[in-house]
Symmetry: C2
Subunit: 348 residues, 2 copies
């Protein structure tokens, strides 16, 4: 296989995977990109090769700072990431930027301005910007982002920024794969309420009220105060949560945010909480993969959704009960599994 | 079997279950209470008999109005339920009161005053008050409450009030088994915030700011206004949510709440939304029973939690990947299931 054409998972043997892993570890951006494409693939035949590659690289992963960055569209995430990425890179760090949501600015976004700025960042030698995967399920996408993160770490990136929009489950997923979770908010009253509803207080390590510039400086300070009050009133476990104002356009302001984040990480690395969190995250990841793959059996097209109509009718006729119906649904799934046994073991 | 000793599931044959079901349907409170004890039992050998009884009664269930009532401890739930139950019973309704949480006032609570009031209500001929089950998991308790509800309906109770505390998953569970969900709130600023965080806006059909009496009348009106604002600002799907003030001590006030609730239910029964909701709830219930029983396999003591340590080590050594670890956890579970095959089919 010629290096020029890059690696292709099809028909690759153990030596081939060894070479691919080496190429990634020694800094080939192209091979890293292809590796991420492999782990992001939705094709069933790519699952095993992706795991072959991952096995070779995971032992070299884990030394990066993993930073999650969230915020609703319009909160200024891409501007913030652009500035933060540049500051880190100019300071000698190798920075990887990943995104969980297909709609995020990293993947192209909808605003030309964002696109251009991310493009600027991605041209830097020290920076690797990866558009988000187009996965089927948000959970699946999060898994892929997580695997992509491990590849980036093995490739020597010491800081991974994982971007997500502030909505639904994706925030929770990103916070469960990162060491530090930063949420950008706008200085609007409605956003404070939305933020509280989203569970921002419990989830985030740093709440940044962004766009604290020009005429909005005062509104931002006010919103920050409202978050601090909410932290006190609701008495959540937000003892570690810091609220700051920020202007993503202002280098000094973003640098100050970076300082706060670094300090938090240093403190946690000194005591055992950093390592403990990583360990808990890994165990929860394995567990949730097992859970997902169990529950996915219920999503399978092979007749289960159709069973519901039948079971519903049987219940109303007194032929079965909801519990029995639930169990027979499960039992049928388990019985069917043996028949699906394919090369990769079980349906993913 | 003598009627005096009541029914005992042990060794009961089909005819015995028929007789038990008949006794419940013809209004024997004692046999209803025993039936609920059976469906609430945590003993594995009681599962099948409970389902036998349920099968005979489900065809006669479903005609009651199912009303969920939630609120944090201190919000005045038991006072409200006492008053509402009395109003309904005096109006000729047969009312069953169930509770999902072991800590709820229905089950005895911690305050003597509550206890006494519930005892008053339960002495009424038209009212059946059932303490909450002491189940192992909140999900399990919810299932039992749901089954108990079906028994009460088959026994001719035309209104079932299901009480739960305003915390955690139990609110969601009760809202998913009732036709109408009422949440009692206190007129405090902090409670408004907590309510919003808990997702009250989306979940409830009626938000009652309780204790709108004496000096708190104004604060209650203010809190109600804050909820109405929050409904507008956050633009949630709360178009059907009504916010009212209420004094649970005042018969006229509770009667007005009852009027609002009745009107909501009537409107929904006229269009198809009432039936549709019931159907969706049943399907989701079956599905979640199947899901729970699948996931419960992961909780089983037979070695799976211990596997995590092993898998964690293998991942760090590059012998496996998180995805493979998750799948092997799942596969091991599925392989083991065949060996557990007991009389009742599969572990519950």
């Amino acid at each position: 296989m010629s290096r020029k054409s890059g690696f292709d998972a099809r028909g690759l043997d153990a030596k081939g995977f060894d070479a691919w892993a080496d190429a990634i570890r020694t800094g080939s951006r192209r091979d890293l990109a292809r590796g991420i494409t492999l782990v992001e693939s939705n094709r069933i035949e790519d699952v095993e090769p992706a795991q072959e590659l991952l096995e070779r690289l995971i032992p070299f992963s884990g030394s990066a700072d993993r930073i999650g960055i969230s915020g609703m569209p319009g909160a200024g995430k891409s501007t913030f990431i652009e500035m933060l990425g540049r500051i880190l890179a100019e300071d000698g760090h190798k920075v990887a930027v990943l995104a969980v949501d297909p709609s995020s600015p990293v993947s192209g976004g909808s605003i030309l301005g964002d696109k251009t700025r991310m493009a600027d960042l991605s041209r830097m030698d020290q920076v690797f910007v990866r558009p988000s995967p187009a996965g089927r399920t948000p959970g699946g996408v999060a898994r892929k982002t997580r695997e992509a993160m491990l590849l980036c770490e093995a490739a020597g990136y010491d800081t991974v920024l994982v971007e997500t929009v502030g909505a639904g489950q994706s925030e929770w997923r990103v916070s469960s794969m990162t060491d530090l979770f930063i949420v950008l908010m706008l200085p609007n009253a409605g956003d404070v309420l939305q933020g509280i509803k989203r569970g921002i207080l419990e989830m985030s390590d740093i709440i940044l009220v962004n766009k604290a510039d020009g005429t909005r400086r005062e509104a931002a300070a006010e919103a920050a105060e409202q978050y601090r009050n909410a932290l006190q009133i609701t008495d959540v476990d937000g003892s570690g949560t810091t609220v700051r104002t920020c202007s993503a356009l202002d280098r000094a302001s973003v640098n100050e945010c970076r300082r706060v984040a670094s300090e938090m990480l240093s403190t946690r690395k000194e005591d055992s909480s950093f390592d403990e969190k990583r360990r808990t995250q890994l165990r929860q990841w394995i567990r949730s993969l097992a859970e997902d793959s169990l529950l996915q059996l219920l999503e399978d097209d092979r007749g289960f959704p159709g069973m519901l109509d039948e079971l519903e009718r049987e219940i109303s006729e007194g032929k079965t009960t909801p519990l029995r119906a639930g169990l027979s649904l499960r039992n049928r799934i388990i019985r069917e599994i043996g028949r699906w046994n394919s090369k990769s073991g079980l349906p993913l």
